[in-house]
């Protein structure tokens, strides 16, 4: 039973104590997701609704019905596949009990494949049931700000900014540099022509860019020997990347509806203080000032945005408003997610994604880029920084991880809801 010929008794006992099985078992997240009955019930309900809607559509076309049918189509499809897999599994189990030996052998062969199919279809079903992120279809703003510390972080911030720019170029995403504030001091130059960056904002104008990049938000850590370092010591510094939802330039009223007070993007203009740089003296024809900087302060939250990139105050103001809206929408969304998380069981508390978490490390010495959440190590760091396929691999891995988290959150929500339904008296007392 044991690989070793002889093991001392106390050692065997201690092995039992530390929970051998817990440590080396694969966790549930990578196995087939066990779907709770509540979720299955919902899927069944939605599928029934889908069938009913398609029947209605066959008789007379209505835009509203068609839209709703399109929404639930994915879920209905996934649920049907899941049902199919389950049915075939039951059939196989029936065959396994049959008297015919040859039949049993055939069923045994098929069993593994069918089990796998069931696992996959159940995962697909839970992905389909996961609500889409409300900002998923939007373009996004990627904000790169060096972390506290010396110029090394600023140099690397430039690298990160260029990495995303190149990645978008490789993927064919349209981008626009909204803000790029650099201080090209004379004495110091980073490696690879990096300039010391103060703050940069890149707008990715492709629809769905937010969903693509939202996993990139967080602290990016770099470990390398800076170009300015004389004695060859490795430094660690950090760069913050924020991903904010943005509006398409030609947004239609429906998806760019920031005048609607219900929208996350709505800001009451009375709550925003707008400041301009004012030249001293008489103004008007007496002076010709070039200061076009605009600073907006959202008074209730204290969020401040200042924009001075363009010579045109008009452009600066428009950009500042856009950035302010995006930041506030993101903040509102985060607050809502925080509240939802507090309601949930503590299972997921470790999986929170906030701005403060270190999410990725770029190690130059080992030519390695590690994503701490997806647990992925890739080599060929130059290709990552060029925004090549290696970076794509990392981003895809993060995507997988995020989807997994969303499913877990959904399951936890369903469980919490079921628990609340079972014990309503207790819930009331708690409040």
């Amino acid at each position: 039973m044991l690989a070793a010929p002889w093991v001392c008794r106390s050692c065997v006992r201690s092995l039992g104590r530390i929970g051998f099985s817990q440590q080396f078992l694969r966790r549930a997240s990578t196995d087939s997701v066990k779907l709770p009955p509540a979720l299955l019930e919902r899927a069944r309900f939605l599928t029934a609704e889908h069938d009913q809607l398609t029947a209605q559509l066959a008789s007379n076309f209505d835009e509203k019905i068609a839209k709703r049918a399109g929404e639930v189509h994915r879920i209905a499809n996934a649920f049907k596949k899941f049902e199919h897999a389950k049915a075939s599994l039951q059939e196989l189990e029936g065959l396994l009990k049959s008297d015919d030996a040859e039949m049993r052998e055939l069923a045994q062969e098929d069993l593994a494949a069918t089990n796998e199919q069931l696992a996959e279809s159940s995962r697909n079903l839970s992905v389909a049931l996961t609500p889409k992120h409300p900002f998923a279809d939007m373009p996004c703003l990627i904000e790169v700000v060096p972390g506290p510390g010396g110029t090394e972080g600023r140099f690397f911030a430039d690298s990160v900014f260029k990495m995303y720019q190149a990645y978008c170029a490789n993927k064919g995403f349209r981008t626009k540099v909204v803000q790029y504030l650099a201080a090209d001091s004379t004495g110091e130059k980073g490696g690879d022509g990096e300039t010391a960056l103060q703050e940069a904002v890149l707008e990715v104008m492709e629809e769905g860019a937010y969903a693509h990049f939202r996993g990139e938000a967080g602290m990016h850590r770099v470990q390398r020997v800076p170009a300015t370092e004389k004695s060859g010591r490795t430094h660690t510094s950090a760069v913050a990347v924020w991903v904010l939802p943005s509006f398409a330039e030609n947004a239609t009223a429906s998806d760019g509806d920031w005048d609607n007070p219900e929208s996350d993007f709505y800001i009451d203009p009375a709550e925003v203080k707008s400041e301009k740089m004012r030249a001293s003296g008489a103004g008007g024809q007496h002076v010709n000032k070039t200061e076009s900087a605009i600073r907006l302060t959202h008074i209730p939250t204290g969020i401040t945005v200042s924009m001075q990139d363009s010579r045109s105050q008009h452009t600066n103001r428009a950009d500042a408003w856009r950035l302010l809206r995006s930041r506030i929408a993101q903040k509102r969304r985060e607050a809502r997610e925080e509240a939802a998380r507090a309601l949930r069981s503590s299972v997921l508390s470790s999986a929170q994604l906030t701005r403060g978490d270190k999410i990725r490390t770029y190690n130059y010495g080992q030519d390695r880029c590690t994503d701490h959440r997806a647990g992925l190590d890739v080599h060929n760091l130059p290709d990552v920084l060029r925004g090549g396929d290696t970076l794509g691999k990392v981003i895809d891995a993060v995507h997988g991880w995020l989807t997994e988290k969303d499913i877990q959150a959904l399951l936890a929500d369903e469980e919490a809801a079921a628990a609340a339904a079972n014990a309503p008296a207790k819930g009331k007392k708690g409040k």
Partner: protein
């Protein structure tokens, strides 16, 4: 002006660029020097020349150091959504003008497509920035705008600006028909008949005339304005035939009010230098004889940003001891606006 500490120059060199200390005496702050240097670099990068890039940046910085306005070095100035060409000899469009024109356009009800186009007259147009901005804000097809200036170079530049903004697609091509620029001296007796407006046919009269006094020109203007911008556009010249009994810097307003009396426009907006000048202009309107009486009860003074209201607190100003006038917005006194019932 207070002396800048040497440490600031050192910081500019260390933190921004070796070119930054050159700009510092004109720009006064690190932020502003960094911005101007960035715009100079962007301009140099976007235009091609045989001269090496760094040399061109350096030359531009030296010009700026001597006080030349950045707008003349770069050749353009943004004005609302438009890009206006600038050239020595023509006044550079100001941000304050932009904000009062924005406010004016927000007051004008959207004309229905069937209605005849709004007739707008801009006197002392300079680069033509006001007609172009009004056209872009009120739609070219619904306006018929005339810009007038005495300087031939201003008129040629304003015509160039019209084609320039159209070629950049900031304005629709139909604007080339709805905007025209004429060279004329508004003090000339033949000027008004040459425009061919019937009485009360004009919808809006706008003007940003020269309004700085001789003393003010020597004391309150910025060095770059004094040395590089045309005096013709800043300080009113005493016209030999003028007979107005007012301060020398208000001569244009006195004459503009004569024009108002004749053309009887529905709305009038003048840019002014400060609140005192605004008060003097308001007094001229209120005490005016003849047709001006119809405007006397609808006069407002606008500050730099007339749209930004101090909520709930309506600011009032007393003119001539007995007339109460509303002052709108924040900043310094910038405009006098009146309309007839």
């Amino acid at each position: 002006m207070p002396r800048l500490p040497p440490s600031l120059f050192w910081k500019a060199r260390q933190q921004i660029s070796p070119f930054a200390p050159i700009l510092l005496p004109v720009c006064r702050t690190l932020d502003s020097a960094a911005n101007e240097l960035r715009w100079i670099k962007q301009h140099v990068n976007s235009t091609s020349s045989l001269v090496p890039r760094k040399l061109r940046i350096w030359q531009a910085c030296l010009k700026r150091e001597r006080g030349m306005p950045l707008q003349y070095i770069l050749g353009t100035q943004p004005f609302g959504p438009l890009e206006i060409l600038c050239r020595p000899g023509v006044l550079i469009p100001r941000l304050e003008t932009e904000s009062i024109i924005y406010h004016l356009s927000s007051l004008i009800p959207r004309p229905s497509p069937q209605a005849p186009p709004l007739k707008i007259l801009d006197l002392c147009t300079g680069t033509g920035c006001i007609p172009l901005l009004l056209s872009s804000l009120l739609f070219p097809a619904r306006t018929q705008i005339t810009g007038v200036d005495i300087s031939p170079s201003a008129i040629s530049l304003s015509r160039q600006n019209l084609t320039h903004t159209i070629s950049l697609r900031h304005l629709s091509p139909s604007a080339s028909k709805s905007i025209n620029f004429t060279q004329a001296d508004i003090f000339d007796l033949k000027f008004l008949p040459s425009l061919g407006y019937k009485p009360s046919e004009l919808d809006i009269l706008v003007s940003n005339p020269p309004y700085i006094s001789h003393h003010g020109f020597n004391t309150t203007t910025e060095r770059s304005v004094r040395l590089y911008e045309p005096r013709l556009a800043l300080v009113p010249q005493i016209h030999p035939t003028s007979h107005y009994n007012c301060e020398p810097e208000d001569i244009f307003y006195a004459h503009l009010l004569e024009i108002v009396r004749t053309l009887q426009p529905k709305r009038v907006l003048f840019e002014v230098g400060d609140l005192d000048q605004a008060a003097r202009v308001v007094a001229m309107v209120v005490r005016g004889k003849g047709f001006l009486e119809r405007y006397a009860r609808n006069v407002e003074v606008w500050r730099d940003e007339p749209g930004v209201g101090l909520e709930g607190k309506a600011e009032k100003m007393w003119v001539g001891g007995n007339v109460e006038v509303e002052v709108k917005g924040q900043g310094r006194g910038r405009g006098v606006y009146f309309w007839r019932e």
